[in-house]
């Protein structure tokens, strides 16, 4: 059960989602990826995509307009 952080702060769509997809592809089921995001669109499309993959997702607003999206690969 590895946990990894992915820094997507300051990055615009579609970069955060592309990076998240690439990162998760190298991870095993049960692993957790925490994606740091401050793009308002990416805080919607990254969790949307992850949920549609059947992964568990949690969004934490860690600061004003800054989120950590926690994805558990299924």
């Amino acid at each position: 059960m590895a946990e990894r952080y992915l820094d997507c702060l300051g990055e615009a769509c579609p970069v955060p989602l592309v990076k998240t997809q690439n990162e998760l592809a190298t991870m095993a089921p049960g692993d957790v990826l925490v994606v740091g995001i401050d793009h308002t669109c990416a805080m919607k499309n990254v969790p949307d995509w992850a949920r549609s993959q059947g992964y568990n997702v949690d969004i934490d607003e860690v600061g004003e307009g800054e989120w950590e999206v926690v994805i558990e690969k299924a």
Partner: protein
């Protein structure tokens, strides 16, 4: 860390009213409603048009006599911000998004972290400026306000902007900051400090809203239409920010990430506006088109300049991280990358003015207007065919996302 299925959190009134993001479909419905209100009031919505004028105004400001150039031809001296519809709605988009972001307490300066982002924004902005000039409009004027008014040029724009975005998606990897797994060491605020920041943001948002109302009241006597444009611009900006609506993502994401949720929402917006234009055009031109002057068909002509322009625009919008409307929205939200792309968008629009000036009367701009009701012999067949085509695209988009999801498993 244990990730639980999200518990059913009951949202507070504040979260529901001002913070929680809306669905894409909610965005599609509201954006269509505002765009059609604008249309009923004074013609179609456009975004990229004023940028070349702003470029010329800036040159005048630094002492260049741009107004004597053939592309401006004295129009700069006559330009008045509050007398120019798209100028008002553009700044309205920015202000609406800024206010939405502040009221949600999510505003911050979003800085770039790598020079590659600045390069992408500059190249993308330049390409968008030139492309929008050549194609007679951006995602809004060339597509969202074009396709639903039964203009064949809208469909052609859609095809070529999609091809451009696909190329842009391939180029994007050269501009992506390298992946980093290091958590930046950011200072976290205490609950108390965050509460205070939230209050400040909401207060500033409310103050800006009042300021917009005051501006509308002040300019109203001289510019009677301006208050309506301000209201609609703010409404569009607020709705786009709150629903995270993005026209570029609609044709960028299917090939890049396999996502089509925004594609489907944009198709819904097209369908809603198609029905509205069906009504507008029948009331303007008569159900039998008897009041339609065949030399003054609605919409843009289809020509090589449109094909090239839409293609270039598609590449630019993907690299820059937002089209024209998206750039204004994200400037409101505080994205440094989009301010860079804006400067180059203005530059590109000004350059584009020279390019389109040079193309005048050449084969590049030779081509007819294709007005679908004239092609299909009436408004009802045109409506049915256009809605059927949109439904076909929707089904295709839906199938595409399912297929992509099945492939990754």
């Amino acid at each position: 860390m244990d990730v639980k299925k999200e518990p059913e959190v009951k949202l507070s009134y504040y979260d529901t009213l001002l913070k929680k993001e809306w669905s894409y479909v909610t965005g599609a419905v509201l954006i269509s409603a505002f765009a059609m209100a604008l249309n009923a009031f004074s013609g179609i919505w456009g975004v990229s048009g004023p940028l070349a004028t702003w470029g010329g105004k800036f040159l005048t400001l630094i002492g260049v006599n741009a107004d004597s150039w053939s592309i401006y031809n004295g129009s700069l001296a006559k330009y008045q911000f509050f007398g120019n519809k798209p100028s008002i709605t553009d700044i309205g988009l920015l202000m609406g998004a800024l206010i939405a972001c502040l009221l949600a307490a999510q505003w911050k300066i979003r800085n770039i972290k790598h020079w590659k982002q600045a390069a992408a924004a500059a190249i993308g902005g330049l390409l968008m400026g030139i492309g929008a000039k050549m194609a007679n409009g951006c995602n809004i004027g060339g597509l969202f306000s074009q396709l639903p008014q039964f203009s064949g040029a809208g469909w052609v724009f859609l095809l070529f902007v999609f091809l451009g975005a696909t190329v842009g998606g391939k180029l994007l990897k050269f501009f992506m900051p390298p992946a980093s797994n290091k958590r930046p060491n950011r200072k976290r605020l205490t609950e108390e400090q965050r509460k205070r920041n939230r209050t400040i943001q909401i207060a500033v948002g409310a103050a800006l809203l009042v300021l917009c109302a005051i501006v509308a009241a002040v300019v109203a006597p001289k510019y009677p239409s301006a208050p309506a444009f301000i209201l609609i611009g703010l409404g569009l900006g607020y709705s786009m920010q709150r629903s995270r609506f993005c026209f570029t993502a609609a044709y960028r994401d299917p090939t890049l990430t396999g996502e089509t949720k925004l594609t489907k929402a944009v198709i819904i917006a097209f369908a809603l506006c198609t029905v509205a234009f069906f009504g507008f055009h029948i009331s303007s031109y008569g159900a039998d088109m008897s009041k339609l002057d065949p030399t003054k068909l609605p919409g843009n002509p289809i020509n090589l300049s449109l094909l090239v322009g839409a293609f270039i625009f598609g590449i630019g919008a993907v690299l820059a991280g937002g089209c024209a409307s998206g750039t204004f929205i994200r400037m409101g939200e505080g994205y440094v990358q989009n301010y860079i792309s804006f400067v180059f968008f203005v530059t590109g629009s000004t350059l584009g003015g020279f390019i389109t000036g040079g193309l005048k009367n050449t084969f590049m701009v030779a081509g007819p207007k294709v007005y679908l009701p004239a092609v299909f012999g009436g408004y009802v067949p045109a409506l049915i065919i256009q809605l059927a085509a949109l439904l076909g695209l929707w089904v295709l988009a839906d199938w595409w996302e399912r297929r992509k999801h099945a492939m990754t498993h």
